[in-house]
């Protein structure tokens, strides 16, 4: 960025480096942090309890029925997949475009991506009627089934984003191993195992740089396909509302938008709870991310119009009923709130420079994220309620869908789990890549390699 002070001498550079180290080392949580972790653990425990009930009594404990056989587990899965797309967006796209303000953002987004994709995989197992038979997927997998494609891409994406995170993390783990004072034994042991023999050698840095470059290219098609394939789970069926050729692009656009919002939210929270972080996550970063979010929202708006305006113009028989329910019927309040709060208001607010200040942009990001969650709900559930044949000769309970408390708590636990993974990462690892920051701020690589892991 323009106002970056490039160091004038090596001494100054080392000083800067030391200051970064000081600022960005992982730190013990204060009261707020501990409280936060406790709350998350409680939510997860409740969800786990309910999941055990579900294992015992079957999916009966959910609000699902023969009409709405996919519910919030699936919409939550789509949400997770959407959020996970952000890793590729920030890291790969900004990396390849060589944007010079990306360094403090990459790791945050990668962590969000990894935890989201992990819980996407978990929540899909939760949705299965027979999780005990998960191995059948590998024993009898049918390559014709979009679910098999999805399993393959989810696993691939998870591996790639883990690698992406891990490679650039190596120097920092080694740094924690060598430099963190007063840490318990297990923690040091963990660092030393995870640092994988990192010795801060220039050759090692070279390898990291090569690997990250390969990964940045590789992750783009995989990330696009993960969300496209997820959209195909719906688009390969005949149901009104899902039978759309627009779905892949629509899902990807939506995912980019919520992913960017997730990164903004993460940035805001980090900046709030860690002193000095505002020097790295500056107002400028928020401004840039705000602009990016507006751009992505416009793309999403474009696909949304395509998705609803064209069928709404034709009002084809079976589709009409579904659309009417969304536009003016039972789901209209949710539908319009999602459009207004999850898209229009953020676009308008973020168009103004004042709107892109940390606080308003944080609020807008939260709007977008919540809106995105309910948007997924609207994609999955109303369609299930409008099959081609009338809802007759079924029990009254099968004509509606209301998630049960158990279902909510399991879903909540998955969200809490993802947040916990991110939180723990922040607790034990530097969430802003120190060496990348240093590089971005013009410190010479040789200086970094030599002095990064020096004792203070």
């Amino acid at each position: 960025m323009e106002d970056l002070i490039t160091p004038k001498s090596e001494k100054e550079a080392i000083e800067m480096l030391n200051r970064y180290n000081e600022d960005l080392l992982p730190r013990k949580f204060g009261i707020a942090g501990k409280l936060w972790v406790t709350v998350l653990c409680i939510v997860i425990a409740i969800g786990l309890y309910n999941y055990i009930q579900q294992l015992r009594f079957g999916l009966k404990v959910t609000g699902l029925n023969d009409t709405v056989s996919w519910g919030i587990y699936i919409s939550n899965f789509v949400f997770f997949v959407a959020v996970s797309l952000v890793g590729s967006l920030i890291t790969a796209v900004l990396n390849l475009l060589n944007v010079n303000w990306r360094a403090p953002l990459t790791r945050i987004s990668e962590v969000i991506a990894v935890s989201a994709i992990m819980f996407a995989g978990l929540i899909i197992i939760v949705d299965m009627g027979r999780p005990d038979r998960i191995l059948n997927m590998f024993l009898h997998g049918r390559i014709q089934s979009p679910i098999v494609w999805d399993v393959i891409v989810v696993m691939t994406y998870m591996t790639i984003s883990l690698l992406l995170l891990y490679f650039s993390l190596l120097p920092n783990i080694a740094f924690c191993r060598d430099r963190l004072p007063n840490i318990p034994k297990w923690q040091r042991k963990m660092y030393s195992v995870l640092s994988f023999g990192w010795e801060n050698k220039p050759e090692q840095y070279e390898i990291i740089k090569r690997a990250v470059k390969i990964l940045s290219v590789l992750i783009i098609p995989v990330a696009l396909s993960i969300h496209t394939v997820t959209s195909w789970l719906f688009a390969t069926t005949y149901r009104p509302g899902w039978d759309s050729t627009n779905f892949g692009a629509y899902f990807v656009a939506g995912a980019f938008m919520v992913g960017a919002a997730a990164v903004i939210a993460g940035m805001s929270i980090l900046r709030k709870f860690y002193v000095h972080y505002d020097e790295y996550l500056t107002d400028k970063h928020f401004d840039r991310m705000g602009r990016l979010l507006v751009l992505l929202s416009f793309i999403y708006l474009y696909f949304t119009v395509n998705e609803y305006f064209i069928p709404g113009y034709k009002m084809k028989g079976d589709e009409a009923e579904h659309l009417r329910e969304l536009f003016t019927g039972h789901y209209a309040p949710m539908f319009w709130s999602v459009q207004i709060f999850g898209m229009f208001i953020p676009i308008i607010v973020l168009l103004f420079k004042k709107g892109r200040k940390p606080l308003p942009i944080f609020i807008m990001a939260v709007f977008v994220i919540i809106g995105a969650w309910f948007k997924r709900y609207l994609i999955v559930i109303p369609t299930m309620l409008h099959p081609f044949l009338p809802l007759q000769q079924i029990p009254e309970a099968s004509k509606h869908y209301a998630p049960t408390l158990a279902e909510w708590s399991i879903t909540g636990a998955s969200l809490a789990g993802a947040l916990l993974v991110i939180t723990l990462f922040v607790r034990y690892f530097p969430v802003i890549s120190i060496w990348e920051i240093a590089e971005e701020r013009g410190i010479h690589s040789d200086t970094i390699y030599e002095h990064l892991n020096e004792k203070v």
């Binding site: 029925n65 023969d66 999780p131 038979r133």
Partner: protein, 315 residues
Amino acid sequence: MSQKSDDKEKLEGDHSGRRDFLKFGFLAAGLTVVGGGLQKVFSDNKDSAKVESGNKVKVLTTDGKLVEVDSSHLKAHECCGASPTDSREGIPGKKYVMVIDLSRCKNALKCQKACQKHHLLPEQDKWLKVFKMQDSPEASPYWMPKPCLHCDKPPCVKVCPVDATFKRSDGLVLIDNERCIGCRFCMAACPYSTRTFNWEEPQQPANILEMSYSPETSVPRKKGTVEKCDFCPDMLKQGNLPHCVSACPNGVYYFGDANEDTVCNGDETVRFKQLLRDKAGYRYMEGLGTEPSVYYLPAANRLFPFEDAEEVKEK
């Protein structure tokens, strides 16, 4: 009965050591001879007389009540269910089709009752539904029975990730519930709302639970898996019509083999293609391209005036 216990003896013999095996073998052979002889003696007098076994079992009736009956009265699925592997092959040379004559249906629901009874289905799971349909506001409503349409290009089979639901050479689409992982993708993919899911552990009589599972009988039913109308392959194997076809008092259902070009509704046997030609047969939502094995004859020149059974019930 005695035959059965002999088989058991033999089986146990197989599992034990060689000497034990011989010992058991002799014993079993002896028992078989005696048992067979006894059976002959009995069968001379009481041909297929049913002996009350005294074993009471709980059965779910069609209206969802649990009743106790003697286990010898449960003859459903006594035979004919092939193993999950074997039932992937269709009955050789057959291609089953169904023709449903909408002009004869008066929503008597005898078909559904027979189906529920023979497949031990609880009230809320209906494999065969009779829909009240109305194609346009001016047209008069009609009743449309709908089993599984056993499509030749089945969307449900397309999407199944583990090969649990499959298409057979005789046209049947069946489910192997020992393989199904319960992802319910097939339910989402089916445009005809055909499939039901075992959301909880199904209630079943003890003697059914003891049987080994077969996709051809769809019992014992299993928690966390999908189910649907199976065209009663156990009946077809014996050359009998599916339960719904033989239960209908109005001859609505014709069932047969397209390779024989013949369908039969229990009373009447007619040429399949000619029937479709003469009565303007069609398939439901042909435009989807799923190519169902079930055809409909339009509800023209009705045998019965349309009566809204639901409204009648309310009165």
